[in-house]
Structure formats: C-alpha cells, structure tokens
Amino acid sequence: MSKLIAGNILLFPNVNWENMWEATQETLYMSVVALLFTFLFGLLLGLLLFLTDRGNLWENRIIQGVTAAYVNVFRSIPFIILIVLLIPFTRIVVGTMLGPSAALPALIIGAAPFYARMVEIALREIDKGVIEASKSMGASNSQIIFKVLLPESMPALVSGLTVTAIALVSYTAMAGVIGAGGLGDLAYRDGFQRRNTDITLMATLIVLVIVFILQFIGDRLTNRLDKR
C-alpha cells in the first residue's frame, strides 16, 4: 500500500488527490443528473417525433415540424457555444452560475435532442406489423405506447442512452468554461495552464475509466434485454 502511494507520488507528483476526488464527484454529479433529465426529455421528444410522423398514431404535420426543427437546431449548436448562450437562462432556472448545477441546463438542453433522435430511430425499427396487430386486438394508443413501442425498442433505447451518457461525460469537460468544475476544468486549469502534465493525465485516466464502466454496463444491459 505504502509502495503504491509512493509510486503515485513519483508518477503524479503534482496531483492533489483531494481536489482530484472532488472534481471526479462533480463530473459524476453533472453526468448522472443530466443523464436522468436527458433520458426523460429525450424520450418525450423522440416519442413525439415518431408518433406525429406520417402514418403514425398522432400524425400531425405542425407538431412534427416544430419538434424536428427544435431538435435539429439544438443538436447542431456546438456545446461550448450553447453553454455560453444559455447563461441568462441558467441564472433564472438554477438561480446561480456557481458550481456544477450551473452546467445542468446546458447539458440537458444539448443532450436531449441528441438522444431524441436515437429514440426516434429505435421506434422506427419496430415492425409496423406488430403495431397493427396490437390495433387489431383493440389496444388504445397509450397501451400501444407503453406495452408495445417502449418494450419492443428497449434494447435500442438503452444502447442509445449509453452513447448519450458517454457524450455527456465529455460535455461536462467543457462545463469549466462557466466555472462548473469537474475533471475537464481541473485538467485545463491545474493541468494545462500550470503545466502539470501529470494532473491532465490523471484526469484523463479517470474520465476513461468512467466511460469504460458506462459502456460496460450499457452493453450488458442491452444484451440482457435483447430477446430477438
């Protein structure tokens, strides 16, 4: 154990482990909370995109057009610009521009459209015949959504969520711009600006570990759910 610590000190002489741990927590906090809301909003937007499309349950040109426009616009704005653009909005919603919570609105607004498109693709993959069979049995629209559309697309929804979660982790690295903290912020400020390469390296390693764990969990879950 002491050898390990000694090794750490030798390899990463400038790393302040307390700061590193705090930054890790901030990154995890931002990612997890943002992922939760992204999942909810993305799922809603994705369902809306799918259901209002031609030939589907809630076919509606106008809603489809507006939703698609919203999704396309927010998906195209580079995150670093989005985060700056949203500063006034964040002030109103979160009440402060300090700490990791300040990054949440931008993270969610940036990632939800991204996930929405994946939800839409997942729903499109469902065999039309299955939806038709459900209608022929007298299913209502809400029964079709909750008993057919969501369960049948679940593996794709989960694997899409995995991709989104990983994208979110990398978005949080940019949250430092508005002083939200996190590993990216630490790597940039303490690592790059003060020429402590070891801090940058360590922060990178931790981000990699987080990404690998997410990918692993996502893959396992997807495989378990997929009965095709």
Binding site: G129, S136, M137, K147, P151
Partner: protein
Amino acid sequence: MINLSKLSKVFNTKDGKVTAVDNIDLTIDEGEIFGIIGYSGAGKSTLIRLLNMLESPSEGSVTIAGKKMEDLSKRELREARQEIGMIFQHFNLLWSRTVKDNIAFPLEIKGVPKEERDKRVNELIRLVGLEGRGGSYPSQLSGGQKQRVGIARALANNPKVLLCDEATSALDPKTTDSILDLLTDINKNLGLTIVLITHEMHVIRKICHRVAVMEQGRVVEQGNVLDVFKRPKEDMTKEFVKQVTEPEETEETLKDLFGEEGIGHILQLTFVGGDAKKPLINNIVRSFDVTVNILQGKISQTQNGPYGSLFIGVDGEASEINRVKDYIREQQVEVEVIHGE
C-alpha cells in the same frame, strides 16, 4: 355474421388513385370458413383489413355481428375489435414477450385480472399444442409454432370472428397442413366464423366451405367450394382450380405420351362430391368389352366432399366405348374425351 355492402377502398398515392377494393358485396355466414383467393395485388389484404377497420372504407359499409363497423366511435371500435381475432402471414408477435405474455397481451388490453389471465393462457397453450413452451421467446420458436402463438393470441378474448391474412404463406407444406387442421378444429369446436385470404387453392380446398375469387379489387366469382371447383366460370378461377385438381403433367403431355402408342381413347373423368368412392373402373371392366388403363389421377378432399380428375385410356370397339361414356355419365361423373375419335 359479416355483411359487406358496396364496399370500396381507394388509396391516394403519388401515382394517382389506386382502387384496391372495388364495390364489393359479400355475405359471410356464422360458423363458416370463408376463403378469399386472388393473385398478388388483387386487394385481398385491403379487404380483410377493412373488416376490422384497420383500413377505413372509402365507400360502402361493413357489418359484423350486427354492428356497423364504420359508424362506431373510437372506443366502441376498440371493443368491437376485441371480438375479432386476426392472424398474420408474418405472425407479428412481440419479440420482447414470452409465449405466455404474448398470448396474455389481448387479455391485458381488455383489462382481465391477472389470475384469470393466467388460467386462460394455460387453456390456450393447450388448445394450440404448445405445452411446455410458455416461457420461450418467439425467436426460439419455429414458424409453425409462432403461428400457433398467433392463433392462441387471436382466440384469447373468445372472438366471434377470426381473420387470417395469408396465415400459412410463410410455412412449409407440412406445417401449413397442421395449422389448417388446427383452424378446422377451432371452427368445429368453437363455432368460430373464419375468414381467410390466400393465393393457394390448396388452402381453400382443404378447409373452406365457401370461396370468393378476387381480381383487381372485385369479387369475380363466389360460391360453395365444390360448385366453384365443378364449374369454374372465370378463366382466373379455372387457373386456380387447376392448381389442385390436375396432375402435375398437363393434358398435352398425356397426348404425347400415349397418343401414338395405340391407345384408342383417353378420357378425363371429373369426380365431384360423393362419387369418388364408387368402384367405377371395376364396373366398367366387368360390364363392357373394353380394356382400361389408368394413366393419371388426382383426387382431393374438400370440406363438401372429394373432388378430382382421373385420366384413363380405353381400348375397344367405338360403339362399346360410347356405351362406356354413357355409363360413366349416368354415375354423375363428368367425362371429356382428351384423345381419340
């Protein structure tokens, strides 16, 4: 049970209007198996989808069990649909659910309590012969087994009508037969009215009581299966009938094979209804001074009796052969001279 009146369906496509169903009047009786046959694009699927309003009619009306389907509110339509089962060519099972849960699905839709649901699912699994497979997922089943799940699911809510859209077209001949047997049993035991569409005359022959022939959105001929087999009026119907009554080789091949070999006459005997079992040939050989040679034959069983053709070569005096022909006609068997005279 089912009544279609002046029913039409026109699709508006980029290439203009497509009339898939064109002014169809049709009545289907309670408890019968009614077949609709036609080539691809004839409008069969559109017609059957009009029955449960998966497609809404452009004109005309559909009445099932006294309900005018097109006048029902959304909610009433959902309830009416619970009384009309439907099975599909590609089964359309939910792959995320086990066999049991797939069969339970329509019961869930109807709001049947869990306990009752389980009981009913077990009954249905037994009915369709899938004991022991309840926990499997559709991807673990063969095509025939998947269709059995489809049938169990369609029967879950004790429907009055079962609609089958090419239910056996994705299956091999043996599996097709077992599914058709199952449908016949269900029809007999549960008194269910079955409407089935197909492009295979074999299916019509095997299980249907009545048949309608569709071409370009219209019903060109309909009637008792045996009557239609006996006297197909339209060329299209004749083609379909040939699928099941004629031996693989055509009349031409028969002439080629036997015409020059000194066989005087080749007769085609057409059996209809109950006559196929009579010892006709035996009687001819005994009572007339001719030699008889059986060349080819194919007798099929229909729901209203046997039907088929037999080709025989007959040698003897011309007058004797004429007497043979008269005798055969007396037995209510149709005779046609293919070669000779």
